[in-house]
Amino acid sequence: MSDIWEGPLEKIDDYRWRIPKSYKPGMRVDGIIYADEKLLRDIRQDKAPEQVANVAFLPQIVKASLAMPDIHWGYGPSIGAVFATDIDSGGVITPAGVGFDINCGVRLLKTNFQYEEIKHKIKDLIYVLFDMVPAGVGSKGDIRISEREEREILIKGARWAVEKGYGIEEDLECSEEYGAMEGADPSTVSQRAYERGKAQSGTLGSGNHFLEIQMIDQLYDYNLCSQFGLTLGQITVMIHSGSRGFGYQICDDYTRSMIHCLSKYNIKVPDRQLACAPFNSPEGKAYFSAMKCAANYAWNNRQCLMYLVRKGFEKVFGMSWEKMGMYLIYDVAHNIAKVEKHTVDGKKLTLCVHRKGATRAFGPNNPELPNRYKNTAQPVIIPGDMGRNSYLLVGTQKAMEETFGSTCHGAGRVKSRTSAMKSIDANQLLKELDSKGIIVKASGKGTIVEEAPQAYKDVNEVVDVVHKAGISKRVCRMKPLGVIKG
């Protein structure tokens, strides 16, 4: 990590930097990184810009290989990558552009509580929720399901949970894709993926996944806040989880098969992890279907987690979740590929948009949005690290024009897990968080250290860039009160 990336980064404006396609023979488009000068210094510290250039090799990539300000070094594309291929002219789909944790994402729900009313109950809440929500590596849920039901989940996504009574119709309306992508065919999923995902529905997982009780500590757009029913001091809950072992196995299965596609379709990429296939090939279609299955699994998982959170609040406060106003604001995916229509150089194209560590940020009046959000534009939820803030933003028309309707997804790491482990003391960190009024419960101390605030960029700076660049708009900011880590 000590090597500084020395490649070209040409300034387009205060928040955009170009890696010209002349940088490496084989690049089909430029790379464009969204950042300010300060974040750019961090970005140069690791190998993420090289990965932005590598993505530009993908067949039929259009416009540019984009990176959001939370960009950091991943495998294949960087984390924070957004890119799209023209599927009608042979554009590809790559599992590495989605990642292993397919539809890792986040949802935000509000409550009627003000901080002052429940500040003495935060600790109780965290302990009750820690008990109810299975967390940690390989954790298993109480929501047991048969294999037949598992297949149903893959098709129905969050609707499965709602039909079981673990939520209401409105929850689906307040989820990206209404909680399920259409066209998920369970026959494209291997038996191995079923086995690996078994019994993990309704579990949080480990690593950066979390459940957080927060309060709104800053309003930016009063009009939008009032439309979303949000005020200063209000308590919110954020849930961050994904498709767990099920998604990892699908990514592994299809990376294996797509390695063969590189020679079969004569595709040249500088990193084998960028294994891909034409979207309309049998291999491309099969992966996209299996990916949808995993995405739907993840939406159902977050719906089940939200059900457990509502139950936990009911237990602590002795009233119904409806009475506590625990309605979902929105649920967004951070790791996903979608077929979307966008205008590129004046032409309307059907694209396979990959968002790997990036969030969809559709502007106002987009037909994909439910009626309640047609005026406001799509809510975008940006989790920070456990010591700093999280944000609610909305998408913009400018994002539609510049970034295929996409924005950042979080803070982005600056410190490796290994160096975090070396330099941060878990007990010291817990004390520091405690002094800030943040209660943390985790299944292991290792996770706390790896996910320490010092290991991340400042989410405030990241959000500042996407707001000022105009690809999303700040609505309000939350600060953590209690955190459960996997």
Partner: protein, 142 residues
């Protein structure tokens, strides 16, 4: 088998390892050992390992890199589904394209689990014959 014969590589989001071995077999074994060493540590209060039957792993791939990545990912799959941490590996056959191995695992409940490894990746993967020894580098998605 040489234990602890690996070093961690700096990587912002994920974990990378560098492994040495006297031959290719040792590279495969030491990498697998390192991977499970990162995932979990055995609880000190548990003494004897019960003797268990090994699992058989067979892989066929187009080349050595694929064979190596598939080997590690197969072990992750087995570990997740059988709820085992693997601690001993015996490679019975290994060439550029084929691998047959016996692997011994122990109940995951005898371990403190530290890190979930989602997969081994091809990103910056290296498997090199250095003359007197072999060396491999692999990055895990965690």
């Amino acid at each position: 088998m040489i234990k602890n014969n690996y070093e961690l590589l700096e990587h912002t989001a994920d974990i990378g390892i560098r492994v040495k071995g006297k031959d290719l077999k040792e590279i495969f074994i030491n990498s697998a050992w390192a991977m499970f060493d990162i995932i979990a540590k055995r609880k000190s209060e548990i003494n004897e390992r019960e003797s268990t039957f090994p699992h058989i792993v067979k892989e066929r791939s187009d080349d050595l890199e694929q064979l190596f990545v598939n080997w590690l990912n197969e072990l992750l799959y087995l570990s997740a589904t059988k709820e085992l941490i693997f601690y001993d590996f015996e490679i019975e056959r290994l060439d550029e394209k084929n691998l047959e191995a016996k692997v011994w695992g122990e109940d995951i409940r005898n371990y403190n689990v530290n890190t979930e490894i989602k997969a081994a990746t091809y990103h910056q993967l290296k498997i090199e014959n250095k003359g007197l020894y072999w060396e491999a580098e692999v990055i895990f998605d965690v």
